[in-house]
């Protein structure tokens, strides 16, 4: 199907984009890579009079590190995927992106668009949540920062106001020895996950688990942080963590209201989540401790 008519606006700065959003209120929507919004418009699941296109706003592009890794919102997913700075600073981000759709989708889809869209089956929202990312936001009246923990409110729903733009994402950079792994189950390569896990582990000088991050996607109405699993492993030695893994993985499956839909039952999602948490964390711990899988 074809989208209903709308006006396309191509502001050249964040300030101009914010002014357009303020002017048109709830008749306006931000357009970035269009890989989620354009299908929804084409299927007429949603309709807006004005699309404010931020995909070519220069200040929304770019990847920098100064303490944190910062990815500008309009940076294409494919650019972040292949950027050695990203892979080096926050390996979990680089390993999550190849699971997003297909390479053609990642050539247009943006890092910020994926997070702002907040599909609970998406990889990057779960990564942002697990790693305590900070979301930088601009509106007509100024800028603010939102912790990822406070950002995801429901399926396709976030703490962003209608007239706000996500400008960038800051991921904390871990400096110890670390491992990262993403595991998911989908019907076909490139499909949204029925259940998925993004996990990272950092070891301190004494070979103890200094930090663990475990994010779940595809299982509930928002991305989920497996806090009980993280707590069970933090501070453990590699041997203790490995021994505790099976129980810690079971705890992950209890931490959310599982989605029951035509793709899978809630019970299936819990079982698969337990398995995926265990395999992802095993891989992450092995990588961090220098064991080749």
């Amino acid at each position: 199907m074809k989208a209903a008519p709308f006006d396309h606006h191509a502001p050249e700065s964040v300030a101009d984009a914010a002014a357009l959003l303020a002017e048109h209120g709830d008749e306006a929507k931000v357009l970035a890579g269009g890989q989620s919004l354009l299908p929804m418009l084409a299927m007429r699941l949603t309709r807006f009079e004005h699309l404010v296109d931020v995909s070519r706003v220069p200040e929304l592009h770019g990847i920098t590190t100064d303490g944190d890794l910062r990815i500008g919102a309009s940076t294409p997913q494919a650019v972040a995927e292949h950027d050695p700075v990203v892979a080096d600073a926050v390996p979990l981000v680089a390993r999550a992106i190849p699971h997003i759709g297909h390479f053609q989708i990642r050539n247009r889809g943006t890092v910020g668009g994926s997070i702002a869209h907040a599909d609970p089956a998406s990889e990057l929202p779960a990564v942002a949540l697990a790693l305590d990312a900070v979301l930088e936001v601009a509106g007509a009246t100024g800028t603010r920062e939102i912790a990822a923990t406070d950002f995801f409110e429901g399926t396709w729903s976030t703490a962003l106001a209608d007239d706000e733009i996500l400008t960038g994402v800051r991921f904390p950079v871990w400096t110890g020895r670390q491992g990262a792994a993403v595991r998911e189950v989908a019907r076909r390569s490139g499909d949204f996950a029925i259940a998925g896990v993004a996990a990272a582990v950092e070891l301190d000088a004494a070979d103890r688990v200094a930090r663990v991050a475990v994010g779940l996607f595809g299982v509930a109405s928002t991305p989920v942080r497996a806090s009980a699993t993280e707590a069970a492993l933090t501070g453990a030695s590699v041997a203790e963590a490995t021994a505790a893994l099976a129980d810690a993985a079971l705890a992950a499956a209890d931490g959310f209201d599982a989605v029951d839909d035509l793709h899978a039952t809630g019970a299936y999602r819990r079982r698969v989540t337990t398995h995926l948490v265990q395999t992802a964390l095993t891989a992450a711990i092995q990588e961090a401790s220098g064991v080749r899988a």
């Binding site: 074809k2 354009l38 418009l41 084409a42 699309l51 296109d53 494919a78 053609q104």
Partner: protein
């Protein structure tokens, strides 16, 4: 409902047009420029039939607005063969390996595989299958397509002309 002037290069030729905001790149190529090689099926990003190159990168032409292509260089399936009509190594391999039956999906596959082999000239079979996972074919069962990608990869690596 605003209209926009767009200027872009398509298969090496400069083009201009006037489009509605909502016109997607695939409709612009097909209806305004008469380049009907780019096929449309699902029109929401799942089938890959509409794949074209924009500034050298493979994208869904149904998920990009024509106005977003302003100032870009677009290559469609019509721009893949040599100007004299000689098939590209990818096209030739699809023909030889039965990589098509009805041919509806073929333009999207040819463009996808052209970009895929440029990024990964020596792919494993698993990488090939992942590389074409974003394109649907309802006829071939994919075996012939996978064989075609292998053959095209070998020929491109050896620098053999189709």
């Amino acid at each position: 409902m605003s209209e926009h002037d767009v200027r872009l290069t398509v298969n090496g030729a400069r083009q201009r047009g006037r489009v509605e905001s909502r016109t997607n790149l695939a409709d612009f190529l097909r209806e305004d420029l008469g380049l009907t090689g780019t096929h449309l099926a699902c029109e929401h990003g799942v089938c890959g039939a509409c794949t074209v190159l924009v500034d050298g990168r493979a994208v869904r032409a149904c998920l990009m607005l024509a106005v977003q292509a302003d100032g870009t260089e677009v290559t469609t399936v019509e721009g893949i063969a040599a100007p004299d009509g000689t098939l590209s190594p990818v096209q030739q391999a699809f023909m030889e390996c039965h990589g098509l039956q009805c041919g509806f999906c073929t333009p999207g596959f040819v463009v996808t595989v052209t970009a895929f082999l440029e990024a990964n000239p020596d792919p494993t079979e698993a990488e090939i299958r992942e590389g074409i996972a974003g394109n649907l074919c309802r006829c071939t069962g994919y075996q012939g397509i996978v064989e075609a990608v292998k053959l095209a990869a070998t020929r491109l690596r050896e620098g053999v002309d189709a």
